[in-house]
Subunit: 119 residues, 2 copies
């Protein structure tokens, strides 16, 4: 009986490992897609940063950020995704972008989140 | 001359505002796409969490994380995107997922990053 249970357990573990491998392959694909989208997003914020620096506009824009958060929370609910996490995610991204806009405005050249066409 | 300069400046500001509006529309689209992909990514990690909990596997897996970081840094370089930021991003996500896996393993029911079919 002991050995039968062990075989069943081994089968169970083997199935779990296979499922884990499949899930991780999907996660890797999602991460690749997200990284490419983030790269494209930052190409846009890079241009926003240059515009803001050229027109001496402040790096942060609290009204815009509030609108973005409200919108992403709604989208997250549509996607059956935790809206608090979507907000945390946007805050993380926006903090990085502002840090970067400030570096651009202060003339730092090695602050790039994306590699510009010139470099 | 003074008024001519002012009109040129006004045109310049109007063009900048229009460009800013366009860039923000693109950023909003990228964010929507990213949120939907994150939702799908977390549906997969949710299943990983349940598997790990069922088989008493640890929530964190340092080898897997090292591989993910190395892979995302390479992808980021391909996308002409800052690899340090890609790594920061993954660390942020993984930290949330581990926090969540631990909550699942400890039997917390309100820890969901995604809404399950039952709820």
């Amino acid at each position: 009986m002991g050995s039968e249970t062990t075989t069943a357990e081994q089968d169970d573990v083997a199935r779990a490992r296979e499922l884990l491998r499949d899930l991780r392959a999907s996660i890797d694909n999602f991460d690749a897609a997200i990284v490419y989208l983030l790269a494209e997003r930052f190409r846009a914020t890079e241009q926003v940063g240059r515009l803001k620096a050229a027109h001496k506009l402040p790096a942060a824009d609290p009204t815009r950020e509030r609108e973005q958060i409200a919108r992403l929370r709604t989208l997250a609910k549509d996607a059956k995704f935790n809206p608090d996490f979507a907000e945390k995610f946007l805050n993380f991204i926006v903090k990085e972008v502002i840090r970067h806009h400030e570096a651009v405005a202060s003339g730092s050249t090695d602050a790039g989140l994306v590699q510009s066409a010139q470099s």
